[in-house]
Structures are given as C-alpha cells and as structure tokens.
C-alpha cells in the first residue's frame, strides 16, 4: 500500500472539506462580526465538527467570548462521548470471537489470544474512563485482559454494566 499517496489524498480532502468550518471559525473569532451570532447557531448544530473551530476561536478571543468558546467545545465533545459510550455499551453482549488482525493472519510462531467484540468494547470503554493512564500501564492491562479466562472477563464486563466501574 502507498501510505504516502493515501496521506496526501487525505490531506487534500481535509483542506477542501474544512473550508466552511474555517469560515465559521473566522466569523466567531471576531467578537464584532455582524454574523457572529448566526455562525454560533450553525456551529452548535455541527456537533463534533464544531470542536476544532471553537477551540481555534478560543485562541483568538478574550474574556467571556473565549470562555464561551471553550465551554461550547467541551459541550460538543461531551455529546460525542455520550454517543461513543452508547455504541460501545451496545457491543458488550457480542461474544463472537474476532478474527486476528490482518498482520497476524497466516502461520505465526505464537497464536494470539482469542478476543471477542465485548472484550475490545470493554477495553475501549476503560480507555475513555481512564484517559490519562500511562500508555505502558494501559498496554499491560490490555494484554493481561486478553489472557484472562473468559468467565472472569464476562464477570468483569457484567460488573461494569451493573455499576459503571472498572477493576
């Protein structure tokens, strides 16, 4: 695969697709802009697409306008998180084993542990719950999890579903 070509393509697409978002950012970043209030209404309806423009505007604004932009970015981010958590929780009943990742398909020296949709969803939920955990600690936990007995993993998933707590 030509990663460089794919990266260039994605970069070009992003540059074009972000133009209207950039214009909205410029409109809200000027506190005296005549269309500022309308641009805010439009941005609020753009959900996760509004996060970057709000954050960029916060860098240009001051006082209450800056704080408002930061809180709007946070609100949009929270709404996104709620959607993500909802989707991940809906994956927790999925016990079908997943195929190994493409890089581990075919003959390998050590078979990777069998992992299920619910296991991976649980690990992603845990990542969201502990976003500041050191990368090495998180990796160690994930590896430990994948080598834990299935019954124990099911028990911990049930515990999370019932209490919202991770062990």
């Amino acid at each position: 695969m030509d990663f460089h070509a794919a990266e260039t393509l994605a970069g070009d697409v992003m540059k074009d697709a972000r133009v209207p978002l950039h214009q909205l950012y410029r409109t809200i970043a000027l506190s005296g802009h005549p269309d500022r209030s309308k641009a805010q209404i439009v941005l609020e309806a753009l959900d996760e697409l509004s996060i970057m423009p709000w954050l960029a505007a916060a860098g240009k604004l001051s006082g209450t306008h800056r704080i408002q932009a930061l809180f709007e970015a946070h609100r949009a981010s929270k709404r996104l998180e709620e959607r993500v958590v909802e989707t991940l929780r809906s994956m927790l009943p999925g016990h079908a084993p997943l195929p190994p990742p493409p890089i581990l398909q075919g003959p390998v020296e050590v078979e990777p542990p069998v992992t299920r949709e619910c296991d991976e969803a649980y690990l992603l939920l845990r990542r969201l719950h502990r976003p500041d955990e050191a990368t090495a600690d998180a990796r160690e936990h994930d590896s430990f999890w994948r080598h834990t007995r299935e019954e124990e993993r099911d028990r911990l998933i049930r515990l999370y579903v019932d209490t919202g707590e991770f062990q």
Binding site: A10, V13, A17, P20, Q23, L43, A45, E48, M91, L98
Partner: protein, 176 residues
C-alpha cells in the same frame, strides 16, 4: 454550493430563522463528511485490497470521519465495528488532549472573564470537568460550587495545588 456562497447565505439568513440556520448547518455537515462517507462505503462494499487503505484514510480524515464511522458501526460485522470504534475513540481522545492543551496556559490568566469569574477560574472549572479523579484525589479539591464560593486568594491556592498535582502532571508527562 461553494464556501463563499455558504458564507453569503449565512449573511442573508436572519438570526430569527433558526430552521434556516440549522438547514445550512446540515448542508455544511453533509459536505464536510462526504469524503469519509465515500471512503467508508468503499471499505465496506469494495474489494478486499482496500482493507488497509480505507481505514488509514479515515483515520487521517480525523474529525471529518467521526460521525460517519459511528453511523457505520451499527451495520458492519464485529471486527470492522471494533476497528471503527478504535478510530473514533482515538479521535475523541485527541479532541480532549487538544482542549486541555488550550486550557493549560489559561490556568495562569487572571484577566476578567465576566462578573466575578476570571479566565483562570473558568479554565480550572472546565479542566476539572474533563479530568476524572478517583475519590482520594478528588478529596483534595473543591467541587464546582465550592470553588466559586472561595475567595480569590483561596482559588489561586487551589489552582496552584492542581497544577502541581499528579493527576494534572500525568496529562503532560513530557513537560515534567
């Protein structure tokens, strides 16, 4: 519709026309997300040799792909769903990191942010909403309303303790 035409439409719409403004938002959203929609469609329905390229491009499209990946997650097989959700979670955490990076210098900004609130106070309140604490850590800091009831010096003291806390330093380990 070009970007300039959209800007013109924003200008022509009245602030008292929320439906018109939301329609415009819908068109902008659809356009911004269009490329990701196409890439995901190719991944799901196209030949197997797109199995690496398409997710790579989606991941590169960052915030433009999040909504489409969440939508697709409902209708693909489990392995792809997991892959999509990994990318969505990565992007969400990138948003979070960026927000905290913007907030960090504001914890020292004592300029007014309206009424009794200073920029550092508002930034602190927001940071506290974003950074989860365990019960032991949380016991050292005020809740939202408690913090705002403190005097200015006490608030400065709490913000100072926060910036020295392990919870905060863990977010920017390279700066310690």
């Amino acid at each position: 519709m070009t970007a300039m035409e959209k800007l013109q439409r924003l200008h022509e719409l009245a602030e008292s026309d929320p439906d018109g403004l939301r329609r415009l938002a819908g068109e902008i959203a659809s356009e911004c997300r269009g490329a990701a929609r196409t890439v995901l469609e190719t991944w799901v329905t196209g030949p197997g040799d797109h199995e690496i390229t398409c997710p790579f491009v989606c991941s590169e499209l960052k915030e433009l792909a999040v909504h489409e990946m969440l939508l697709r997650a409902d209708s693909v097989e489990p392995a792809r769903r997991v892959h999509l959700m990994e990318m969505v979670v990565d992007q969400h955490l990138a948003f979070r990191e960026l927000t905290l990076t913007v907030l960090e210098p504001l914890l020292k900004d004592r300029s007014s942010a309206g009424s009794e609130l200073r920029t550092c106070d508002a930034a602190y309140l927001l940071v506290r909403r974003i950074v989860p604490l365990n019960a032991a850590q949380a016991a050292h800091f005020s809740a939202d309303s408690g913090f705002m009831a403190l005097g200015e010096e006490q608030r400065d003291g709490e913000i100072g303790r926060w910036t020295e806390s392990e919870a905060w330093k863990a977010i920017f380990p390279d700066r310690v």
